[in-house]
Amino acid sequence: MRKSFLAALALTAIATAAPAAEVVVYSARNEQLIKPLFDAYTKETGVQVKFVTDKEGPLMARLKAEGRNTPADLFMTVDAGNLWQAAEEGLLKPVSSKTLAANVPAHLRDPDNEWFGLSVRARTVVYNPNRVKPGELSTYEDLANPKWKGRLCLRTSKKVYNQSLVAMMIWEHGEEKTEATVRGWVKNLATDPLPDDTKAMEAVAAGLCDATVVNTYYYGRLKDKKPGLPLAIFWPNQNLQNKAAGVHVNVSGAGVTRHAKHEKEAVRLLEWLSSEKAQNLYADVNMEYPANPRVKADPAVAAWGGFKQNLINVAEAGKLQAKAVMLMDRAGYK
């Protein structure tokens, strides 16, 4: 312990004089979700994985500042918007890998192959079965209908999940229509936007409102802890035939950094993460859906029922994110 401290304090580069078999990861996906995977990878291949976690924004600022001399080989984050932004700022490099192309469906990766989705996070509707008949629910857009007045709870617009959702809606319907929808949501709110998905669901369960929009794994976690809560999942936008069809999905994913020193190892790790072996480990630990279509979701997750995903490329969410944020500001969605 003392030695590592001295080495760290000393102004030397000893620590980074890299052995060959090593990958360095900057990750916005939290330690408890990635460490088991990296441990398994090291065990299987002998390649050491060094990683550091932080929020997406600071990690990108860090990559940018370090430029050519960054120690990072792989940038991993939990939202397509951030991945798109990283690519936009030239922090990632394209990877041509047949394995990745085969394992990750087209709409879950960058059109230029600079990043790849590794798990799917579905943002869906959760309602209180005591107060809502499933038949009343249909689409995200329908939640703007005056019949939901005083019955809707939403998480804050500051969370990237909602920004992506609205960004996708802008892609589907255009700004004007989307703004009307968002204004409708705001009008229907039973209470000020809540700080997180769990709080939103608890409000629904407590009867403060009837329905909300959340990521499924939050639902899974809450139901695990308090199975008795009157909450149920509804998959919206299933019966549409237009481009708005399907449940809005986002990804957690990763891309190889532009100045990666261990590019080959990074690609290999990325391929491994998308493989059948790793996908369950990757997704199940957080009750997410595997990105690889050949891998089945965790039985507990699968029990919520199958659903049709929206097939628009998630990169569009990144492109339109700033627009979405400004739109929500205009609409008074806090």
């Binding site: 304090l9 620590a15 980074t16 403060l208």
Partner: protein, 538 residues
């Protein structure tokens, strides 16, 4: 030139300027983004975001300012000057809320008192009372932040009250004033510099806070800066907002300084009369104990109880040997950081004492600006020049990897930029209480300059310095953005654990490291108060 240094004319500047640069460089790096203003985003913010957040921020600063003053001063007075049941316990226990990260306290409060919380549910189901006053409201944020931040005022005001001794209050009494009125007319006005120092810290932290206001989804300048940067991907717009914030803080800080510098409160060096406390009896004692217990309960016991309850639930699954390492890292960083920050604050305060004047005042204010900036903004501002320097070194010297990045040295310097204000406040207030006559006496005995600081001021400042170091210690323990951004690979701390859990909404699991922080933070708080009380009595 060497002559000038030897004669001490330049020395204060040579000491103060580098300290100020530690903060000035990151701030300038952030502000440099102003060179390419982002008109479109700025227009949007101006129209749709700024009006709300200006009002919100103003209310928050006013509300929290009033709240922390009320709580901090009343409790400081009670524990410093009065005697009532439980005083000895409350004297140090009332500092404990500092050891809890404010956003964790906020989350616990929200959980307990929101519509879905146990209290509201119980009232609703058992008693048909549908509505509590909403906790997710302006009043709620102000209440919770006041409860989390009052210890800053408590600590500095308490030191000020203790420094006064009882003599002046007796003088007031002999002139016909009751103890209660003597407090208003003598003790309070005299403690003003100390109170102002603590208040300034609380206000700076309020302005810089992102975590707590996020829990309440309350929009402030800081949330707007985060939005501009991380959601709208516009660094220039974030810098534009930050520059307004910096300007505001600068003005407030200079005002505080004016308030303080206009009067010389150096107390008489003669030992005060035996420190007799005002003995409260009957209703007075009941009220004092009740008030102390209420604040302690709401600000610490209640959230801590919830945190421990959660932590107990996940202890079996989450606790492992790595926690020893997290705790060791936390203690090491906080300990080294507190010593370094305290030392620099002392040097800076002493430089100000040697060279009073507008230029030095501004220098000191620049040096302490880092505390008012949103943490992540400052972290990036620090990281960019470090990375630049690294890249220069790597290219000039054809090195293999980073030299500075990922070293503890950078982390510690970054903490200095962030927390200098925390130490500077108490140290400065402490220095102000030392009569100038002491300086002259020492000089006449041939002890001047740095030696005088070491031999004369340092021993006299022991209590203030210890307070400064303890505050910095607990603040570093809780610090996130800088720790996240500059820590070496694998160098996780307890605060980092809290981050890993809360950022995925796993608050119950975050309770374990949060409880560990609070428990580790207990020690310095306890020692600090014991030491301060001991010295007030000798």
């Amino acid at each position: 030139m060497p002559g000038l240094i030897a004669s001490g004319r330049l020395a204060p500047w040579l000491a103060a300027a580098p300290i100020a640069l530690l903060t000035a460089v990151p701030v300038l790096v952030v502000l440099s983004a102003l060179a390419h203003p982002d008109q479109e985003i700025w227009d949007h913010l101006w129209r749709f975001v700024l009006p709300e957040l200006l009002v919100n921020t103003l209310w928050l600063v006013l509300g929290v300012g009033l709240g922390v003053t009320l709580l901090g001063v009343s409790l400081a007075w009670l524990t410093a000057a009065c005697e009532y049941p439980g005083r000895r316990f409350f004297a140090w226990a009332l500092l404990l809320p500092l050891a809890l990260p404010a956003y964790v306290t906020a989350f616990v409060w929200l959980g307990l008192f929101d519509f879905t919380g146990p209290l509201a549910t119980w009232l609703r189901e058992g008693h048909g009372i549908m509505q509590l006053p909403p906790i997710r409201s302006r009043g709620g944020v102000i209440l919770v932040m006041s409860l989390a931040l009052y210890p800053y005022v408590y600590l500095t005001a308490r030191a000020a009250f203790q420094g006064q001794g009882r003599r002046l209050l007796e003088a007031a009494q002999s002139l016909g004033e009751s103890p209660w009125r003597a407090f208003w007319r003598v003790a309070l006005p005299m403690a003003r510099p100390g109170i102002a120092a603590g208040l300034l810290l609380a206000i700076m932290e309020t302005l810089a806070d992102f975590g707590t206001v996020s829990v309440f989804n309350y929009n402030t300048f800081t949330t707007a800066i985060y939005k501009a940067w991380f959601s709208l991907f516009s660094l220039p717009a974030a810098a534009q907002l930050a520059s307004v914030l910096i300007f505001f803080v600068f003005v407030v800080a200079l005002l505080e300084y004016q308030l303080r510098a206009s009067r010389n409160y150096a107390a008489s060096t003669r030992a005060a009369a035996t420190p007799t406390r005002i003995r409260l009896g009957g209703w007075g004692a009941a009220l004092a104990t009740g008030w102390s217990a209420l604040v302690f309960g709401l600000a610490f016991a209640l959230p801590m109880w919830q945190i421990l309850d959660w932590a107990a639930g996940v202890f079996a699954s989450d606790f492992d040997a790595r926690y020893l390492e997290f705790a060791w890292h936390t203690l090491l960083l906080a300990g080294l950081g507190a010593v370094l920050v305290g030392g620099l604050a002392l040097v800076l305060g002493y430089a100000q004492r040697l060279r009073p004047g507008a230029a030095m005042r501004v220098t000191a204010r620049v040096a302490t600006l880092g505390y008012a900036l949103p943490g992540a903004v400052l972290a990036v501002g620090i990281f960019i020049p470090v990375a630049w320097l690294d890249n220069q070194l790597i290219e000039r010297l054809s090195l293999d990897g980073q030299v500075l990045g990922g070293t503890l040295l950078v982390m510690l310097l970054a903490y200095c930029a962030r927390f200098l204000a925390v130490s500077h406040g108490p140290v400065d207030a402490g220095l102000a209480r030392i009569s100038r006559g002491i300086d002259e006496a020492s000089q006449s005995l041939g002890v001047a300059g740095a030696r005088r600081l070491w031999r004369v001021h340092l021993p006299m400042l022991r209590v203030s310095l210890l307070g400064a170091a303890a505050l910095t210690f607990v603040d570093i323990m809780k610090e996130l953005p800088i720790t996240l951004m500059t820590r070496p690979f694998g160098w996780d701390t307890l605060a980092v654990r809290v981050f890993e859990m809360t950022s995925e909404g796993e608050w119950e699991r975050a309770a374990l490291p949060a409880a560990a922080i609070a428990i580790v933070g207990l020690l310095p708080v306890f020692l600090l108060i014991r030491h301060a009380d001991h010295h007030a009595h000798t």
